[in-house]
């Protein structure tokens, strides 16, 4: 007896490809992963539903994300934070982000932000830690320099939060386990 094989819908294909990028971005910090489309909403679609809370600094994007069923929340309660790190004031507000607790370090936030990856005039970073074979250098623009010191302050491993940076359809992940040296 032969059985029909299940095939993915266009939506399945898109959300699977997005998750692939999200997973490998976190497993290989600093290695650029391709996304199926250049859009922050895509990331929300593949991860968020009614079990999640989110914060978006952009009202338009916030309305679109709310359509996934996720609940809007204040910055200090949101599990998924969509914001721009280009502005120093936005960055300072991130000091209140969820960083988990020692019993549940996973009860923590994930930041998604647009950025310029490997462009001119950015901050040169050296990443090391799990997922990095030795060390890897990365130039990140459109992220305020103060963000990197704030991150170093906020992370008390295993407590802390994880960051995704998006440049059009290119994605870079920086988990809390990564050590960053600003060069």
């Amino acid at each position: 007896m032969t059985h029909a094989l299940l095939l993915p819908t266009a939506e399945d294909t898109r959300s699977n490809a997005t998750f692939d990028a999200l997973m490998w971005a976190l497993a290989r910090p600093g290695v650029i992963q391709p996304l199926p489309d250049a859009c922050l909403l895509l990331l929300a679609e593949s991860l968020l539903d009614r079990e999640c809370t989110f914060f978006s600094s952009d009202d338009g994007l916030g309305r679109q994300i709310a359509a996934t069923g996720a609940y809007p929340a204040m910055l200090d309660e949101a599990e998924y934070v969509f914001t721009s790190l280009a502005d120093g004031r936005n960055v300072a507000a991130l000091s209140t982000l969820l960083a988990g607790n020692l019993l549940y370090p996973d009860a923590s936030a994930t930041i998604f932000s647009p950025a310029m990856i490997d462009g001119a005039g950015g901050t040169r970073l050296r990443l090391s830690g799990p997922g990095v074979n030795g060390s890897i250098d990365l130039v990140i623009g459109d992220v305020d320099r103060s963000f990197w010191s704030l991150r170093a302050e906020a992370i008390r491993y295993p407590l802390g939060w994880d960051v995704y940076l998006l440049d059009c359809d290119r994605l870079v992940g920086i988990p809390r386990s990564t050590f960053i040296e600003v060069l």
Binding site: H3, L5, L6, L7, P8, T9, E11, D12, T13, S15, N16, A17, F19, D20, L22, M23, W24, L26, A27, R28, S46, L47, L48, D49, R50, E51, C52, A66, A67, G69, N101, L102, L103, P105, D106, S108, T110, G129, P130, G131, V132, N133, Y157, P158, D162, P175, R176, S177
Partner: protein
């Protein structure tokens, strides 16, 4: 918001068997597990059409990862041809249109019960290990809430004590499988019941490893290039099984992890545990063109 905005048109089955909400939950948990290597992330663990304890944890991870272009290998205690492994492999193909393989080198995703293949895994490969008991502290602390506090405090003294007791009682470490291992210098995890032989393969491995316990509803991960150090005393080095000089009676392969087969005369013969690697040796002997990958062990010694 209305219900019809959150739902999709009716379909007999979702792609990859799990519904979208289950997949999104798995995705969120897998990301946290990768961000905190070795930490056990709780997850809902949905029903799948095999019984709990038969690889439902690994199955849910694999179902979340599969695409039609994926090539999947499933092994059970080293063998591709056990009923459990072949049933899971067939099921995966039917619900995802992914391709099946027995060859470690050709696989994108390798779901495994209790073994890591002998051939080295690459950076683009994912190893999904089925885990019966994800809690390394259970033998010393049966209360899982207390065990969680101990993980939070990195309080692993009692694990060292059990190892010390084994040394005092037996003169050597008796822990045969699930050897407790420190991940990224912070969390002690169980590497699932793989033999001691396989634990060093995880240390700074190129591949991503995801370990999932369906019955116990816990998921943990080891990203590529992550330290995985078995707990050992400074003066008692870690020892793997003594299989360096054993030769497989079927394939002639030597220096790999073997299954011992007792014989009528009281002696033993040995058969390579990674069945497809043995098959490849036989095919090569018979003149077929097969590619034998680079292995973690060479002549019974770990390659570093």
């Amino acid at each position: 918001m209305k219900l019809d905005q959150l739902t999709k048109p009716w379909a007999a089955f979702s792609y990859g068997f799990l519904d979208e909400s289950a997949k999104r939950e798995m995705r969120r948990r897998i990301l946290k597990a990768i961000a905190i290597p070795g930490y056990q992330v709780p997850y809902a663990s949905r029903e799948v059409p095999i019984a709990r304890g038969w690889g439902t944890g690994g199955l849910q991870v694999t179902l979340t990862l599969l695409k039609p272009a994926s090539v999947v290998k499933v092994i059970d205690q080293g063998a591709d041809d056990s009923v459990n492994a072949s049933s899971i492999r067939k099921f995966l193909r039917r619900v995802s249109s992914a391709k099946e393989t027995l060859d470690t080198l050709k696989a994108d995703i390798i779901q495994s019960r209790h073994r890591i293949p002998e051939e080295k895994l690459r950076e683009d490969q994912i190893l999904v290990l089925q885990v019966p008991n994800p809690e390394p502290l259970r033998p010393v602390q049966p209360d899982m809430s207390e065990a969680r506090v101990m993980h939070g405090d990195a309080d692993y003294g009692q694990l060292w004590l059990t190892l010390y007791e084994q040394l005092v009682r037996s003169g050597r470490i008796m822990q045969g499988s699930s050897y407790p291992s420190m991940v990224n210098g912070r969390h002690v995890m169980t590497p699932s019941p793989i033999p001691r032989w396989d634990v060093p393969k995880m240390h700074m491995a190129a591949n991503l490893t995801i370990l999932s316990a369906g019955r116990e509803k816990r998921i943990h991960a080891v990203p590529p290039y992550t330290r995985v150090e078995p707990l050992v005393f400074d003066d008692v080095p870690y020892r793997v099984e003594d299989h360096a000089d054993k030769t497989c009676y079927r394939s002639g392969a030597m220096g790999f992890f073997m299954n011992e087969l007792p014989q009528d005369d009281g002696s033993s013969s040995f058969e390579i545990s990674d069945s497809q690697y043995g098959v490849k040796h036989i095919q090569r002997r018979e003149g077929e063109a097969v590619t034998l990958g680079e292995t973690y062990y060479r002549e019974g010694r770990l390659e570093r």
